[in-house]
């Protein structure tokens, strides 16, 4: 692997950039691997990297139906935070946050993790109670999250309207300063390059068509559009398509896939310094390094794999943005796009073993998977290497839906009275 640095950039420039090697080779499938990851998004590529790096399992293939990073990794609004309420969630997302810090150096690839702060707006007494609960719980869990008054919130994010006459006035905000954004594509590319350098095969344009199980029920490998590939360890990290893959192994999952849209404005000079989220008004926004306002919308209401959403969702989202930030009404929407998010009944992920021996799963991240990318990759790698979950992902098992031990962050926050 050619080490990236200002020096290498300078040196290669003198040669007209002719001698840069491929960041990762386009591998063809070998007959067998020690481990296979299905899905070359940030999570799956991260898992392959950590399998090789931390657990010495380098004979690994990552199989991707399309092109790597082409799913939700490249379609999200890049928000990173860990100020979750429940211990299980706080530990999971903070594990990821700690990995984000230093990821550029670890991968030798600038993932542009930017700690610009994630600010969540409280618009009513219920929001205030809920956010205070988060802040107290976060503090005792060692996760930074602080309360700001409306004036402090405005100071932190000047475009914010704190007019008391707004339909949903801002009563205050919870701010996680370590929260922020990263450049989504580079996370996938950085992991791909680093994993490939450790010997991982990244096989694109190779769709899984079946999961082969032996007489004992254990996984023997995957059938693909490029032939059978043997492995006793298969990890599925296929986001919106997870339930389709699990069905190939005869497993039914508590998952539904919904369209989620996002959009960006035309680029403008720096005007928006942080990430702002509002659950009550239902919108979130940041500004990319390129200058685009990056805006997230809600999911459409129905199950779909179309990667296509409805206009009225965009209308509602922009109405919400203009309500919180009236100065942006003349800004213009440049591009919208859709992803497919897989949602569990408690909107928390499933990350661990499955009832099929040798088959592991990482799915159900819903609308919030990007922030977990390094953590999910690391924990999936651990689980596959040890054949048992790490204590952090142990609660995220499939059995919780049977026992009732759900991890329902949204339920804890969102009931009105």
């Amino acid at each position: 692997m050619t080490r990236f640095s200002a020096f290498s950039l300078f040196a290669k420039a003198l040669g007209g950039h002719q001698s840069w090697p491929e960041q990762w080779p386009d591998a063809s499938p070998k007959p067998a691997y020690d481990a296979i990851i299905v899905g070359a998004g940030g999570h799956g590529l991260g898992a392959s990297y950590y399998l090789a790096k931390k657990y010495g399992i380098t004979n690994v293939a990552v199989i991707e139906k399309g092109w790597l990073g082409g799913g939700n990794t490249g379609r999200n609004t890049t928000i990173i935070r860990s100020n979750y309420l429940y211990d299980e969630s706080a530990h999971l997302y903070d594990h990821a946050l700690k990995l984000w810090d230093g990821l550029s150096q670890e991968l030798n690839y600038n993932t542009m993790y930017s700690k610009r702060g994630v600010m969540m707006l409280a618009h009513n007494v219920h929001d205030v109670q809920s956010f205070k609960r988060h802040i107290h719980a976060n503090r005792l869990n060692g996760v930074d999250n602080e309360w700001l008054t409306a004036e402090q919130a405005k100071e932190y994010c000047p475009p914010l309207s704190i007019s008391p006459n707004a339909r949903h006035p801002v009563l205050g905000a919870a701010l996680q300063r370590r929260g922020g954004t990263a450049r989504h594509d580079t996370v996938a590319w950085g992991y791909a390059r680093a994993a490939a350098a450790l010997g991982v095969d990244i096989i694109q344009n190779c769709a899984v068509t079946g999961i082969r199980r032996g007489a004992d029920g254990a996984v023997e490998g995957v059938e693909t559009t490029r032939g059978f590939i043997a492995s006793k360890r298969v990890g599925v990290s296929a986001a919106g398509h997870s339930s389709v893959i699990m069905q190939m192994a005869g497993l039914e999952f508590p998952l539904e896939s919904y369209p989620l849209q996002a959009l960006v404005s035309e680029p403008v000079k720096p005007v928006f310094p942080c990430v702002v989220m509002s659950n009550s008004v239902h919108a979130y926004m940041s500004q990319s390094d390129k200058g685009e306002l990056v805006i997230g919308a809600g999911t459409d209401q129905y199950v779909s794999y179309s990667q296509r959403g409805a206009l009225h969702i965009v209308e509602h989202t922009l109405a919400a943005i203009c309500e919180i930030f009236p100065i942006f009404r003349r800004m213009r929407m440049l591009r919208t796009w859709g992803g497919i998010v897989d949602v569990t009944p408690d909107r928390s992920p499933i990350l661990g073993k499955t009832p099929v021996s040798g088959l592991y799963v990482n799915c159900g991240w819903g609308t919030g998977g990007f922030k977990a990318t390094p953590g999910a990759g690391d924990l999936l790698a651990y689980t596959m290497a040890k054949d048992e979950p790490h204590p952090i992902n142990a609660p995220y098992n499939l059995d919780r839906f049977r026992t009732g031990r759900l991890i329902d962050e949204a339920a804890a926050a969102a009931v009105a009275h």
């Binding site: 389709v244 039914e252 539904e256 199950v303 179309s306 296509r308 009225h312 009944p345 839906f401 049977r402």
Partner: protein, 90 residues
């Protein structure tokens, strides 16, 4: 915005008149107490989530108020048919 045919009103109307109500033909077991935890979990949470034909429920919430069933292709989002609640699975 989808165009949805309400089988009660017998009219195609805009999606914003309707509320999606999840997968169809998942009947509540008549005697839940008789079910194992696994079977009850299946009823509560397991969904087919197909990439393809999907049987689903909608409610014409800003219209006649009725729940009805539909078959929709989840890749194209095109409706194949909508039919009244209680009618056999298409």
């Amino acid at each position: 915005m989808l165009l949805i045919h309400c089988p009660y009103c017998d009219e195609a109307r805009a999606e914003i008149e309707f509320a999606y109500a999840g997968e169809a033909h998942i009947a509540r077991p008549p005697d839940p107490a008789a079910l194992s935890d696994e079977d009850w979990t299946h009823y509560l949470f397991i969904r087919s989530n197909p990439r393809g034909r999907h049987h689903e429920r909608w409610r014409h919430i800003h219209g006649c108020g009725r729940f009805f069933n539909a078959v929709r292709e989840t890749v194209s989002d095109k409706f194949e048919v909508t039919y009244k609640a209680g009618e056999p699975r298409r």
